[in-house]
């Protein structure tokens, strides 16, 4: 503990800004952990819900972590180490994926579990980083970088990724994002209507239009509103705060790639 003096100098809350500290810190009970505070709370919730939806439908857990620095470590190795420690993905399927951003180092790494290696090859990951994520990161737009990055990974795993980078330039980017928004809203409506039916039959109340819920909840904040029909990981342990049931036991072996901007 020869670094103890640093703890006195840096403000509290910066502990987790070094990726090394994450190895000894408690495992977060959510998919998106913005330790270096480069996302707004709304953006964090948006990404969390996107990834939670995906984890609930496919059991593949994609997690995003932002830190300030890797503390001098190779970002690929520390990311794989953290992902293996947290056991992202399901046991026996090893279908986890961790996107790590070191914002001060200006580095990003995507590491995937053994089970995703046949689909998400290192080259594909490298392409996603270079052509999808980094153009946004270069403009300090971390949210959109992470959003297209996560969506590209999902597209690859669904078999629909076409490797057309450069979405940043031109008017098509707006259209595509709008399309994604529509899809997301449809997803939310489906979820809400499902949940409201369950709630209604049980309690005899809450038979409210899903659309009303959508508006009243500010569009996409759905924390604490159910999801408990899904549930993966650690034998169905649910957190009281809402959806995420914890990482499920996946293992990692160094598959993935990194890039810097």
């Amino acid at each position: 503990m020869k670094y103890w003096i640093i703890y006195l100098v840096i403000p509290f809350g910066m502990f987790a800004q070094n990726a090394q500290h994450l190895l000894n810190a408690p495992i977060p009970n959510k998919l998106v952990s913005d330790f270096s505070d480069i996302l707004s709370p709304q953006e964090e919730v948006y990404l969390e819900n996107l990834l939670l939806d995906y984890a609930d439908t496919t059991s593949t857990q994609i997690s995003i972590v932002t830190v300030a620095t890797t503390g001098g470590d190779n970002i690929n190795l520390i990311t794989a180490e953290i992902a293996a420690k947290w056991k992202i993905g399901q046991k026996d399927r090893d279908n986890g994926c961790l996107i790590m951003v070191a914002s001060v180092d200006r580095e990003v790494s995507i590491q995937n579990g053994y089970g995703l290696e046949p689909y998400l090859t290192d080259f594909t990951t490298k392409q996603i980083i270079e052509t999808e994520i980094l153009p946004y990161f270069k403009q300090q737009d971390y949210f959109n970088g992470l959003l297209v990055g996560a969506n590209s990974i999902i597209e690859v795993l669904n078999g629909t990724y076409d490797g057309n980078g450069g979405r940043l330039s031109g008017s098509s980017s707006g259209k595509k994002n709008f399309g994604k928004l529509i899809i997301l809203i449809i997803f939310i409506l489906i979820y809400l209507s499902r949940n409201s039916k369950v709630g209604g039959s049980r309690n005899g109340e809450f038979r409210v239009s899903p659309l009303w819920w959508l508006l009243s909840s500010g569009g996409y904040t759905m924390r604490g509103r159910g999801y408990s029909t899904g549930g993966y990981g650690k034998g169905g342990r649910f957190s009281s705060s809402g959806g995420f049931g914890g990482f499920g036991g996946g293992d990692f072996g160094g598959g993935g790639a990194s890039g810097s901007w």
Binding site: L77, A80, E81, D122, F123, T125, E130, G254
Partner: protein, 196 residues
């Protein structure tokens, strides 16, 4: 109860306890032994993955007419030497591991020389095929590093168990031998830099 009966029962009791302990300790050692074998398989497959990428890499690079022939030959030779040395998982002796590591790190340095040379060929550096191979190679080096670390951890666990009293009595009686692990390569404590 007669005194001799008491003695007999006590001896049987002690014998049962001892045999039970021996069986449990033996089975524990077998588990550790199997674990190191499993980790070794992972190490080998990570290295095999690297070896499998090389023919493609060589073919891609060869296409560039004036590319240094001796650099390529160096990689090809180092590869055949490295793939020639295999280690039986049932004989992970320190010597076997050292030989394996020596051959593999030769291949590693031949590869880094190749990648350094490539820096002088802008066309090659922009070649899609090459970029693909380069990122696969980078990922493979990470895999090797990770599997090696895990193998070493399992070996340290095994080695310290078979040398500690009292399990060392069982280990020596049933022929559990010390196994070798990877030393840090000289000058390659970090993953080789395969940067774009």
């Amino acid at each position: 109860m007669k005194k001799s009966t008491v003695t007999l029962l006590t001896s049987i009791g002690i014998l049962v306890v001892i045999v039970g302990w021996v069986v449990r300790a033996y089975n524990g050692l077998i588990t550790l032994d199997e674990e190191t074998n499993g980790k070794w398989a992972q190490v080998e497959s990570a290295y095999q993955r690297r070896a499998d990428l090389i023919p493609n890499l060589v073919n891609t690079v060869k296409g560039y007419a004036d590319f240094e022939k001796e650099t390529l030959t160096g990689v090809i030779e180092a590869r055949s030497k490295a793939t020639g040395i295999t280690v039986d998982a049932n004989n992970l002796s320190p010597e076997a591991i050292t030989n394996f590591q020596a051959a593999q790190s030769q291949l590693g340095s031949a590869l880094s020389r190749l990648l350094v040379t490539v820096e002088r060929y802008p066309d090659l550096k922009a070649n899609q095929n090459f970029l693909g191979l380069q990122s696969q190679l980078e990922g493979t080096e990470n895999r090797i590093k990770i599997e090696r670390d895990r193998f070493n951890t399992s070996i340290k666990n095994y080695n310290s168990t078979i040398r500690k009293f009292p399990k060392t009595l069982i280990a020596s009686r049933f022929g559990f031998e010390k196994k070798g692990y990877f030393e840090t390569d000289q000058g390659t404590e970090n993953v080789p830099d395969v940067s774009f």
